[in-house]
Symmetry: C2
Protein backbone atom coordinates (compact mmCIF):
# COMPACT_ATOMS: atom_id res chain seq x y z
CA UNK A 1 0.00 0.00 0.00
CA UNK A 2 1.18 3.52 -0.79
CA UNK A 3 1.95 5.68 2.24
CA UNK A 4 -0.77 8.26 2.77
CA UNK A 5 1.46 11.30 2.81
CA UNK A 6 -0.08 14.37 4.42
CA UNK A 7 -2.96 12.41 5.89
CA UNK A 8 -3.13 11.88 9.62
CA UNK A 9 -5.27 10.54 12.41
CA UNK A 10 -6.64 13.51 14.31
CA UNK A 11 -8.40 11.40 16.95
CA UNK A 12 -11.41 13.70 16.65
CA UNK A 13 -14.93 13.25 15.41
CA UNK A 14 -15.47 14.88 12.00
CA UNK A 15 -18.01 17.27 13.57
CA UNK A 16 -15.39 18.46 16.00
CA UNK A 17 -12.81 19.06 13.25
CA UNK A 18 -15.36 21.17 11.43
CA UNK A 19 -16.36 23.10 14.54
CA UNK A 20 -12.74 23.90 15.36
CA UNK A 21 -12.08 25.14 11.84
CA UNK A 22 -14.99 27.59 12.06
CA UNK A 23 -13.55 28.91 15.33
CA UNK A 24 -10.05 29.29 13.88
CA UNK A 25 -10.92 31.67 11.04
CA UNK A 26 -10.83 35.26 12.27
CA UNK A 27 -13.09 38.16 11.28
CA UNK A 28 -10.00 40.12 10.20
CA UNK A 29 -9.23 37.49 7.55
CA UNK A 30 -12.55 37.68 5.74
CA UNK A 31 -13.89 41.21 6.42
CA UNK A 32 -14.82 43.63 3.63
CA UNK A 33 -14.09 47.32 3.16
CA UNK A 34 -16.49 49.45 5.24
CA UNK A 35 -18.68 52.05 3.53
CA UNK A 36 -18.94 55.12 5.77
CA UNK A 37 -20.94 58.36 5.68
CA UNK A 38 -21.02 61.44 7.92
CA UNK A 39 -23.92 62.05 10.33
CA UNK A 40 -25.04 65.24 8.53
CA UNK A 41 -25.58 63.25 5.30
CA UNK A 42 -29.25 63.17 4.22
CA UNK A 43 -31.32 59.99 4.06
CA UNK A 44 -31.52 60.47 0.28
CA UNK A 45 -27.73 60.64 -0.03
CA UNK A 46 -27.43 57.55 2.16
CA UNK A 47 -29.74 55.57 -0.13
CA UNK A 48 -27.77 56.70 -3.17
CA UNK A 49 -24.48 55.71 -1.47
CA UNK A 50 -25.93 52.33 -0.63
CA UNK A 51 -26.79 51.72 -4.30
CA UNK A 52 -23.51 53.07 -5.66
CA UNK A 53 -21.45 50.99 -3.23
CA UNK A 54 -23.87 48.04 -3.43
CA UNK A 55 -23.95 47.35 0.31
CA UNK A 56 -26.84 46.71 2.70
CA UNK A 57 -25.42 48.58 5.68
CA UNK A 58 -23.74 51.99 6.09
CA UNK A 59 -21.62 53.04 9.04
CA UNK A 60 -21.90 56.61 10.26
CA UNK A 61 -18.57 58.01 11.45
CA UNK A 62 -17.22 61.27 12.81
CA UNK A 63 -13.83 62.76 11.99
CA UNK A 64 -11.08 60.17 12.45
CA UNK A 65 -13.32 57.33 11.27
CA UNK A 66 -14.84 56.75 14.70
CA UNK A 67 -18.15 54.91 14.83
CA UNK A 68 -21.23 57.00 15.65
CA UNK A 69 -24.09 55.07 14.10
CA UNK A 70 -25.32 52.43 11.69
CA UNK A 71 -28.17 52.26 9.15
CA UNK A 72 -29.48 49.27 7.25
CA UNK A 73 -31.38 48.97 3.97
CA UNK A 74 -34.38 48.10 6.14
CA UNK A 75 -34.08 51.35 8.15
CA UNK A 76 -33.92 53.36 4.93
CA UNK A 77 -36.87 51.57 3.32
CA UNK A 78 -38.96 52.26 6.41
CA UNK A 79 -37.98 55.94 6.31
CA UNK A 80 -38.80 56.38 2.61
CA UNK A 81 -42.35 55.20 3.43
CA UNK A 82 -42.73 57.65 6.30
CA UNK A 83 -43.75 60.64 4.22
CA UNK A 84 -40.88 62.86 5.42
CA UNK A 85 -38.70 64.76 2.94
CA UNK A 86 -35.72 62.43 2.67
CA UNK A 87 -33.78 65.13 0.78
CA UNK A 88 -33.72 67.16 4.00
CA UNK A 89 -33.83 64.54 6.76
CA UNK A 90 -30.34 63.99 8.24
CA UNK A 91 -29.22 60.42 8.74
CA UNK A 92 -28.47 61.16 12.39
CA UNK A 93 -32.23 61.27 13.07
CA UNK A 94 -32.87 57.68 12.00
CA UNK A 95 -29.59 55.85 12.66
CA UNK A 96 -28.94 53.42 15.50
CA UNK A 97 -26.35 54.96 17.82
CA UNK A 98 -23.57 53.76 20.07
CA UNK A 99 -23.79 52.09 22.56
CA UNK A 100 -26.62 50.16 20.86
CA UNK A 101 -24.48 48.99 17.94
CA UNK A 102 -23.37 45.35 17.78
CA UNK A 103 -19.80 45.19 16.48
CA UNK A 104 -16.99 42.70 15.90
CA UNK A 105 -13.26 42.93 16.46
CA UNK A 106 -10.70 41.62 13.94
CA UNK A 107 -9.31 38.90 16.24
CA UNK A 108 -12.74 37.49 16.99
CA UNK A 109 -13.66 34.18 15.32
CA UNK A 110 -16.09 34.28 12.39
CA UNK A 111 -18.20 31.81 14.37
CA UNK A 112 -18.58 34.25 17.28
CA UNK A 113 -19.41 37.09 14.85
CA UNK A 114 -21.93 34.86 13.01
CA UNK A 115 -23.61 34.17 16.34
CA UNK A 116 -23.96 37.92 16.94
CA UNK A 117 -25.62 38.34 13.52
CA UNK A 118 -28.17 35.63 14.36
CA UNK A 119 -28.80 36.58 17.99
CA UNK A 120 -29.23 40.29 17.27
CA UNK A 121 -31.00 39.79 13.93
CA UNK A 122 -28.75 42.09 11.94
CA UNK A 123 -27.24 41.63 8.48
CA UNK A 124 -23.81 43.15 9.09
CA UNK A 125 -21.45 44.27 11.84
CA UNK A 126 -18.86 47.04 11.78
CA UNK A 127 -15.39 45.63 12.45
CA UNK A 128 -13.73 48.03 14.89
CA UNK A 129 -10.55 48.71 16.81
CA UNK A 130 -11.54 49.85 20.29
CA UNK A 131 -9.29 52.44 21.95
CA UNK A 132 -9.48 54.39 25.19
CA UNK A 133 -9.12 58.15 24.73
CA UNK A 134 -7.09 60.35 27.11
CA UNK A 135 -10.26 61.11 29.09
CA UNK A 136 -10.96 57.38 29.44
CA UNK A 137 -13.90 57.31 27.00
CA UNK A 138 -13.83 54.48 24.46
CA UNK A 139 -13.72 55.19 20.74
CA UNK A 140 -14.27 52.64 17.99
CA UNK A 141 -12.34 53.06 14.77
CA UNK A 142 -14.19 51.42 11.87
CA UNK A 143 -11.76 49.16 9.97
CA UNK A 144 -14.11 46.78 8.20
CA UNK A 145 -17.52 45.31 7.52
CA UNK A 146 -18.57 41.75 8.35
CA UNK A 147 -21.84 40.48 6.91
CA UNK A 148 -23.83 37.39 6.05
CA UNK A 149 -22.26 37.72 2.60
CA UNK A 150 -18.78 37.19 4.08
CA UNK A 151 -20.05 34.07 5.83
CA UNK A 152 -21.69 32.78 2.66
CA UNK A 153 -18.49 33.36 0.70
CA UNK A 154 -16.40 31.60 3.38
CA UNK A 155 -18.92 28.75 3.40
CA UNK A 156 -18.44 28.33 -0.37
CA UNK A 157 -14.64 28.40 0.00
CA UNK A 158 -14.66 25.89 2.86
CA UNK A 159 -16.79 23.56 0.75
CA UNK A 160 -14.18 23.67 -1.98
CA UNK A 161 -11.78 22.28 0.61
CA UNK A 162 -9.30 25.03 -0.26
CA UNK A 163 -9.37 27.01 2.95
CA UNK B 1 -5.00 4.05 27.67
CA UNK B 2 -8.79 4.30 27.44
CA UNK B 3 -10.29 3.12 24.18
CA UNK B 4 -11.46 6.06 22.08
CA UNK B 5 -15.01 4.98 21.54
CA UNK B 6 -16.79 6.61 18.65
CA UNK B 7 -13.59 8.14 17.28
CA UNK B 8 -12.17 6.82 14.07
CA UNK B 9 -9.50 7.32 11.49
CA UNK B 10 -11.18 8.74 8.42
CA UNK B 11 -8.02 8.80 6.32
CA UNK B 12 -8.97 12.26 5.12
CA UNK B 13 -7.52 15.70 5.58
CA UNK B 14 -9.55 17.82 7.99
CA UNK B 15 -10.32 20.27 5.18
CA UNK B 16 -11.84 17.45 3.17
CA UNK B 17 -14.02 16.29 6.08
CA UNK B 18 -15.33 19.81 6.40
CA UNK B 19 -15.93 20.20 2.67
CA UNK B 20 -17.86 16.92 2.53
CA UNK B 21 -20.06 17.93 5.45
CA UNK B 22 -21.04 21.15 3.69
CA UNK B 23 -22.01 19.14 0.63
CA UNK B 24 -24.06 16.63 2.64
CA UNK B 25 -26.51 19.10 4.18
CA UNK B 26 -29.46 19.67 1.84
CA UNK B 27 -31.40 22.86 1.18
CA UNK B 28 -34.60 21.08 2.23
CA UNK B 29 -33.20 20.53 5.74
CA UNK B 30 -32.50 24.17 6.49
CA UNK B 31 -34.97 26.17 4.34
CA UNK B 32 -37.42 28.69 5.80
CA UNK B 33 -41.10 29.28 5.12
CA UNK B 34 -41.57 31.33 1.91
CA UNK B 35 -43.43 34.64 2.01
CA UNK B 36 -45.51 35.00 -1.15
CA UNK B 37 -47.64 37.75 -2.68
CA UNK B 38 -49.83 37.96 -5.80
CA UNK B 39 -48.67 39.88 -8.88
CA UNK B 40 -51.49 42.45 -8.63
CA UNK B 41 -50.31 43.46 -5.14
CA UNK B 42 -49.05 47.09 -5.02
CA UNK B 43 -45.46 48.04 -4.27
CA UNK B 44 -46.71 49.69 -1.07
CA UNK B 45 -48.42 46.47 0.09
CA UNK B 46 -45.26 44.52 -0.75
CA UNK B 47 -43.14 46.79 1.46
CA UNK B 48 -45.65 46.44 4.29
CA UNK B 49 -45.64 42.63 3.89
CA UNK B 50 -41.85 42.63 3.95
CA UNK B 51 -41.87 44.48 7.28
CA UNK B 52 -44.66 42.44 8.84
CA UNK B 53 -43.02 39.15 7.85
CA UNK B 54 -39.51 40.49 8.48
CA UNK B 55 -37.97 39.05 5.32
CA UNK B 56 -35.70 40.59 2.70
CA UNK B 57 -37.23 38.86 -0.34
CA UNK B 58 -40.80 38.22 -1.49
CA UNK B 59 -41.86 35.62 -4.04
CA UNK B 60 -44.63 36.50 -6.44
CA UNK B 61 -46.88 33.55 -7.20
CA UNK B 62 -49.98 32.82 -9.24
CA UNK B 63 -52.82 30.53 -8.22
CA UNK B 64 -51.50 27.16 -7.08
CA UNK B 65 -48.37 28.73 -5.55
CA UNK B 66 -46.43 28.71 -8.83
CA UNK B 67 -43.47 31.07 -9.10
CA UNK B 68 -43.95 34.13 -11.30
CA UNK B 69 -41.47 36.65 -9.91
CA UNK B 70 -39.22 37.82 -7.11
CA UNK B 71 -38.60 41.20 -5.43
CA UNK B 72 -35.88 42.12 -2.97
CA UNK B 73 -35.64 44.87 -0.35
CA UNK B 74 -33.19 46.53 -2.73
CA UNK B 75 -35.73 46.51 -5.62
CA UNK B 76 -38.35 48.10 -3.37
CA UNK B 77 -35.99 50.75 -1.98
CA UNK B 78 -35.06 51.74 -5.53
CA UNK B 79 -38.73 52.00 -6.49
CA UNK B 80 -39.68 54.15 -3.48
CA UNK B 81 -37.06 56.67 -4.65
CA UNK B 82 -38.40 56.74 -8.19
CA UNK B 83 -41.18 59.25 -7.60
CA UNK B 84 -43.97 56.93 -8.77
CA UNK B 85 -47.11 56.40 -6.68
CA UNK B 86 -46.26 53.16 -4.89
CA UNK B 87 -49.88 52.89 -3.67
CA UNK B 88 -50.93 52.31 -7.28
CA UNK B 89 -47.89 50.68 -8.89
CA UNK B 90 -48.41 46.88 -9.21
CA UNK B 91 -45.51 44.66 -8.14
CA UNK B 92 -45.60 42.95 -11.53
CA UNK B 93 -44.09 46.09 -13.09
CA UNK B 94 -40.90 45.98 -11.03
CA UNK B 95 -40.38 42.29 -10.20
CA UNK B 96 -37.79 39.99 -11.76
CA UNK B 97 -39.64 37.35 -13.80
CA UNK B 98 -39.07 33.73 -14.73
CA UNK B 99 -36.92 32.54 -16.45
CA UNK B 100 -34.53 35.11 -14.92
CA UNK B 101 -35.00 33.87 -11.36
CA UNK B 102 -32.23 31.87 -9.69
CA UNK B 103 -33.79 29.10 -7.59
CA UNK B 104 -32.80 26.06 -5.54
CA UNK B 105 -34.33 22.61 -5.22
CA UNK B 106 -34.78 20.83 -1.86
CA UNK B 107 -32.33 17.98 -2.66
CA UNK B 108 -29.58 20.37 -3.68
CA UNK B 109 -26.68 20.80 -1.23
CA UNK B 110 -26.51 24.01 0.80
CA UNK B 111 -23.04 24.45 -0.63
CA UNK B 112 -24.36 24.50 -4.20
CA UNK B 113 -27.13 26.93 -3.20
CA UNK B 114 -24.61 29.15 -1.35
CA UNK B 115 -22.55 29.28 -4.52
CA UNK B 116 -25.59 30.50 -6.47
CA UNK B 117 -26.16 33.30 -3.92
CA UNK B 118 -22.54 34.46 -4.33
CA UNK B 119 -22.26 34.04 -8.11
CA UNK B 120 -25.57 35.76 -8.86
CA UNK B 121 -25.24 38.36 -6.08
CA UNK B 122 -28.65 37.74 -4.54
CA UNK B 123 -29.65 37.46 -0.87
CA UNK B 124 -32.20 34.64 -1.14
CA UNK B 125 -33.45 31.91 -3.46
CA UNK B 126 -36.92 30.43 -3.76
CA UNK B 127 -36.87 26.70 -3.04
CA UNK B 128 -39.04 25.08 -5.68
CA UNK B 129 -40.42 21.78 -6.90
CA UNK B 130 -40.24 21.78 -10.69
CA UNK B 131 -43.01 19.97 -12.58
CA UNK B 132 -43.88 19.56 -16.23
CA UNK B 133 -47.49 20.52 -17.04
CA UNK B 134 -49.64 18.55 -19.47
CA UNK B 135 -48.63 20.90 -22.29
CA UNK B 136 -44.94 20.29 -21.48
CA UNK B 137 -44.34 23.73 -19.94
CA UNK B 138 -42.45 23.74 -16.64
CA UNK B 139 -44.04 25.15 -13.49
CA UNK B 140 -42.21 25.84 -10.24
CA UNK B 141 -44.11 25.38 -7.01
CA UNK B 142 -42.61 27.54 -4.24
CA UNK B 143 -42.03 25.38 -1.16
CA UNK B 144 -39.40 27.39 0.74
CA UNK B 145 -36.94 30.23 1.03
CA UNK B 146 -33.16 29.82 1.27
CA UNK B 147 -31.11 32.86 2.25
CA UNK B 148 -27.78 34.02 3.63
CA UNK B 149 -29.51 33.92 7.01
CA UNK B 150 -30.05 30.15 6.68
CA UNK B 151 -26.36 29.74 5.89
CA UNK B 152 -25.32 31.94 8.81
CA UNK B 153 -27.56 29.96 11.15
CA UNK B 154 -26.16 26.63 9.84
CA UNK B 155 -22.64 28.03 10.21
CA UNK B 156 -23.34 28.78 13.88
CA UNK B 157 -24.79 25.29 14.45
CA UNK B 158 -21.88 23.56 12.70
CA UNK B 159 -19.49 25.53 14.93
CA UNK B 160 -21.24 24.17 17.99
CA UNK B 161 -20.34 20.72 16.64
CA UNK B 162 -23.96 19.65 17.07
CA UNK B 163 -24.89 19.18 13.47
Amino acid sequence: ARPRVGYFHSGKKPGRVLAEKLHQVKVGEVKSVPVVVPEKCTVYDAVVTMFIEDVGTLFVVREGGFLEGIVSRKDLLKTTLGGQDIHKLPLGVIMTRMPNIIYAEPDESVWEAARKLINHEVDALPVVKANAQEDGAMVFEVIGRFSKTNITRLFVELGEGDY
